[in-house]
Symmetry: C2
Subunit: 382 residues, 2 copies
């Protein structure tokens, strides 16, 4: 559009925006099955609105916001068994991974060991930062290969990124085992738990056996987890936890005009609404509430896999967290046909298929509707 000469009234603008919003997939209607976004909790939205205009980049002018951020980081450090960590709220997993990798580079590492299954934001960040990537192979179960990590260590690689909840297959790399090996070589690990960081700690509450993901592992130096995924906050929201706390100094930059003479983080102005929203969710749910959420999505996961197999769909991987890859011959055709029915999934590429992320806005009804659609598509395209 042209930049308008004259303004128009608010209601006509909002009504126009609503009509455009009709085109977007709706979480509420069970249409969003691939994107890791969801419907935020009401308490998170209310909290966000209180701090909307405060800038986390300026703790001098907005000290209340800064306290909230610190408390959130403390709570997450506690959840991940770190008693001496620092951290900051970022806009999302991509920024958190970029920040962690920047710190790794500034610590003097020039090469990072990255599993083939890592999120693309890791590959992108390495390109940005001119970090060399040592690509790590996967085992037959699609988790990073311990042998491959040992080879990397032999070749001098000392910094690694592992994933707790891989984007495509919902798997947790064997971080605990790897940490012990890497620690012997005085190496370090950044854990990308963007999706499953608010799932994994609560799985053990459900009595499920999962590989341990925490700072109890001495090689783990940073970990990120997204609020706007399973943390049920509005976008933007991610937390990056750092150990030792002094690592934060690497992302403190001189800013002569600012009251504290420094500025923290790779970006600038950040809404304090993000910190407030995550604070609210943590207080509102607590361990018990999060466990309920995780129980719900894990229940749906089990249901979906069972129903898919009953209908003779191939689900070759048993995921650790609620992400399902359904093997199909031509994923792009499936995406197109499903989108026509207003069901929006993503793809898996390690195994050729379509992929569903089970977020808390979904229900058994939504999954049944999806399976029916999938059967129809199979009939049409094979």
């Amino acid at each position: 559009m042209k930049f308008p000469k004259r303004g128009v009234n608010e209601l006509s603008i909002l009504s126009e925006l609503r009509s455009k919003y009709c085109l977007d997939a709706k979480h509420d209607l069970g249409e969003v099955l691939g994107s890791m976004t969801t419907k935020p909790l009401d308490v998170a939205i209310r909290a966000f609105e209180i701090f909307w205009r405060s800038n986390l980049n300026d703790p001098y002018t907005f000290p209340g916001s800064s306290i909230i951020e610190r408390e959130v980081i403390e709570a997450l450090a506690d959840l991940y068994e770190c008693n001496d960590c620092s951290g900051l709220i970022t806009t999302g997993g991509s920024e958190s991974n970029l920040t962690a990798l920047y710190i790794i580079r500034e610590l003097g590492f020039s090469t990072v060991g990255v599993p083939k299954s890592a999120h693309f934001s890791v590959f992108k960040a390495c390109k940005l930062l001119k970090l060399n990537i040592y690509e790590l192979d996967l085992d037959k179960d699609f988790r990073v290969s311990i042998g491959s990590v040992k080879e990397a260590l032999d070749k001098g690689v000392r910094a690694f990124i592992f994933t707790a909840g891989t984007t495509e297959l919902g798997l947790i790399d064997p971080i605990d085992k790897l940490g012990r090996v890497i620690n012997e070589y005085s190496g370090l690990i950044h854990v990308d738990a963007a999706y499953a960081g608010f799932v994994i700690p609560f799985l053990k509450e459900l009595g499920l056996k999962v590989p341990k993901v925490s700072f109890s592992n001495p090689a783990v130096r940073s970990l990120c987890v997204d609020g706007h995924k399973m943390g049920l906050t509005p976008i933007p929201n991610s937390a990056l936890i750092l150990r030792p706390p002094e690592l934060i100094k690497y992302v403190e930059f001189p800013a002569r005009y600012m009251p504290l003479n420094i500025q923290r983080g790779l970006l600038g102005t950040r809404t304090a609404g993000s910190a407030a929203a995550l604070y609210a969710v943590i207080k509102y749910l607590g361990i018990e509430g999060f466990t309920e959420v995780v129980k719900y999505v894990m229940g749906l996961l089990k249901y979906l896999i069972k129903r898919l197999r009953e209908e003779d769909f191939s689900v070759p991987v048993e995921p650790d967290v609620p992400i399902v890859c359904i093997e199909v011959k031509d994923p792009d055709k499936y995406l197109k046909e499903l989108a026509k029915r207003r069901l929006f999934v993503y793809k898996c590429s390690l195994i050729k298929g379509v992929r569903v992320v089970i977020m808390p806005h979904l229900s058994r009804y939504d999954l049944d509707r999806f399976i029916e659609a999938l059967k129809n598509v199979r009939r049409e395209v094979g």
Copy 2:
């Protein structure tokens, strides 16, 4: 805090958050005089809320959001006289500058000419990207020195960043003149108009003489402007405009699991609320409305400078846009004393002083109150 075991009720959380918010400076109360943040327009908040959960990173699942983003970029390209541009909405000026500099690096430039007065995000981005900085001197009027740019060109520098509204002194670099020189050398310019991008185009409507900032200058290849500053939207919000449109390809990254196989931008998930909010403000205000806003802040600027001089404060620079640097001996002392009175300003460093940014939430009453406080502080600390 510890990660709580049990959740607590919504109202007690919100009431606790509100009490923390009391510590933050309030735009409404005229307390925020340094931060470039302001109170967003109501229509922007309503628009944001409609698109809150849609992800601009996924135009397949959220096509309505994608249309809104495209329309905003088109409108801004139109405002800045570009008839063949592309662009994207980012989280703020820091990300926009980082993105522009990344594209510059990928185009093959290894050194960027940066004026001493550039925003620190530019220096930070160069460090991140391992770009060499050729620091450009300032003229006696604190704008980038044309002689220094010519010297840089002689030494082989071909990529430059200039500022339209410097953060410390509110000055516009002579981009038009510089563009002609740089164009002769087939160089390029990124314009950082983060703060004043929604001020400068409307100054000429007020009959004020300002240096031309637009894509009519053939050397200008990118320009960024922040919605969450003078664009009156909630945080996060910045627009990056690129010419030729194909430049956007440099920030399209492979993402095998996403429906379109690519992902755009240096970060990942982005709320479509940002695009919707900026769309709403552009439609709501139009050129006429923005001109009124700019008339209002420029009026306050004139008033503040006049009143300061009447009270024998030194205002050594005549700003182009509403940022005032008041020379004082010990800026940190002033900041501290003013903060005690709940007046939060920033500093200038090129000239030692305290600095006020006039945003639309301020009034003559707020400025009078500020001047009275400033006089009291002067009496106390000299």
